[in-house]
Point group: C2
Chain length 359, copies 2
């Protein structure tokens, strides 16, 4: 296959073609250094500039307040499931709202380190909605309230965020940079990069510095946000290539008009797809409308056999990684920032054709 | 600068040009998938093959026994400094031999989790030797003995390894795949990839399965070697690009004849450089001969001013990242597997010229 496909994978996922081309073109000679960016020392000024630039762009694009750190770490959101309690759980209790698979994993990891209380849970309807955040029983004196702002597998997202006394901690892996947020409403935001930001291997943490000064004694040094902040994400050798790619993606996003502009496109893309699904007789999306994700769109035909046929034929048509997560079945189209409108249009055209042939 | 330089950085460091070219050529279309390897799902069969192939090559090239796991994780050796006690320190005591900066850091991290006893220490002579491993007071009933097999900053390495009752745990970051080892002599071997294996972002752990079944309760799930082993390094999204590059580097190493063959070249390269230094009047290497590393060769002129001039002029001559670590000063030439003989010859030629002009 020589043609570029439309890649609907949930992560790692499609990246802007301009960014990939730029990285390819300078892969053997990074900014005139005579080395690949995969070879250059992380202490080399030319590389250190990349890390600084990436941090500055995160601050600019998300309007991050000055009293928040922005750090690049390793291990994915799954490692942050432990880092959150290890950095914050001083009183030994925290609240978790469980709205999907990763929210549940974060909650389970929290239980290793203290009383991690599930104060909300949408598993009764297979995570197709978000509990009403205004009527939850937040724990008095909890160290934090943990949410997963967008649920990659189930295709739901918070339409508004909890307003609570304890700092709000949000895993934004599958939606960071896709819609405007007010960082000051959160204590900590973290996100694996492999959806909207970069190739897998780097995780971004944005944290209010006042909260992170005193990690638990048993916290591994590398998981201490404070240590990473004090060292400008260069405490040890960073995941250099992934940060470099994140920097290129963020530059590209800025050029495209930033988060506000990309959000408009995302809303438009998701709207096209949901409208088509809602008006079709074959396809169905089960998420309550006000909680529908604009990043991950699961849908089913109602027949496992037909779903499998859809995924196989779509692949032949250059629309790949549309198989839904095993917990949900069916199909899922992840339409992150880098998925062009044309990709969504091509998917809808294919869905129409498939419906005619199999409806 | 259009010409490829010789990069003597300690890590990230030079990679084989054939590997870089191959990665560049398929960067926009990974094995005919129509996607970049940085975009493809880690659950895609084409990508899963990469992880399996990389694991198989590690097993083949190091002759890893079947009762050892081989896993690819994130966070660098610095994260393993915590993972080692968190996976192994059941009785609460372990021995550490401190032969350099990273060995010391590993020992300090061990103290978070139990009685980490320093049973050997070569700081009295600025880490220019390895303590005699046959006369150390190993602790009865220790959970493990931790060593750093090659000291990147100080340029020393073990000529032979401790023989002890407790499992031997070795950080081999800066020498893995550079010389033959008998894996069965070790309980655990770990190594950050960014010297001999791949771009930064992936860490390899080779561990005897019988040792890793029962991590401490406080161990973050992501740091449990057992969990990573049970999931074939795909418990969560792996550092996909770095593993892909590791696979290409390992294929390249196999084509070149494997570890035995590359070790012969490494011994030859290091010999050229040490012989020249020992016979020069200007340059000096302070490490005891039998403990000299064949990967990292520090040297000084005896004058800080002249050292700085050397580093600056070498850079102009296309020999980069020769500045020594701030703990040692002077110069350091890291001559990993991917540094061609021609690079070492070019360095020696430059050193000669510089000595004539400044001696």
């Amino acid at each position: 296959m020589d043609k570029r496909v439309y890649n609907f994978a949930a992560g790692p996922s499609t990246l802007p073609l301009e960014v990939l081309t730029e990285a390819r073109d300078e892969f053997l000679n990074f900014r005139g250094t005579g080395m690949s960016v995969t070879e250059i020392s992380h202490r080399d000024k030319t590389y250190e500039e990349v890390v600084k630039d990436a941090e500055a762009l995160v601050r600019e694009l998300l309007n991050v307040p000055d009293d928040y750190c922005v750090i690049f770490v390793q291990g994915g959101a799954s490692t942050q499931f432990a880092a959150v309690p290890l950095n914050l759980m001083h009183s030994g209790k925290a609240d978790y709202i469980v709205t999907g698979n990763f929210a549940k994993k974060a909650w389970q990891e929290g239980q290793i380190y203290g009383e991690a209380k599930k104060i909300g849970d949408s598993s009764d309807k297979i995570y197709t909605y978000i509990p009403d955040v205004d009527s939850l029983g937040y724990t008095d004196g909890a160290d934090y309230v943990h949410i997963t702002s967008n649920n990659t597998i189930f295709g739901s997202r918070y339409d508004k965020f909890p307003v609570c006394k304890a700092p709000l901690v949000a895993d934004m892996s599958s939606e960071i940079f896709s819609r405007e947020i007010n960082v000051a409403d959160f204590g900590v935001i973290y996100a694996g990069a492999q959806k909207n930001l970069a190739p897998a291997g780097v995780t971004i943490v944005i944290a209010k510095r006042a909260l992170i000064g005193n990690p638990l004694k048993i916290c591994p040094t590398m998981l201490k946000w404070k240590v990473q902040d004090e060292n400008g994400s260069l405490y040890n050798t960073p995941p250099a290539f992934s940060i470099y790619m994140a920097d290129l993606v963020l530059r590209n996003l800025k050029k495209k008009g930033g988060v506000k502009a990309i959000n408009e496109i995302n809303v438009y893309k998701a709207g096209l797809l949901y409208d088509f699904i809602d008006n079709s007789k074959l396809y169905k999306n089960n998420v309550e409308k006000k909680y529908r994700s604009i990043m991950n769109v699961p849908f089913v035909t109602g027949s496992d056999e037909l779903d499998a046929k859809f995924v196989a034929e779509a692949k032949k048509a250059g629309l790949v990684s549309l198989k839904g997560h095993r917990l949900v079945g069916g199909m899922r189209a992840s339409i992150y920032n880098a998925m062009p409108v044309e990709g969504v249009q091509a998917l809808i055209a294919f869905m129409k054709k498939f419906e005619v042939e199999n409806g």
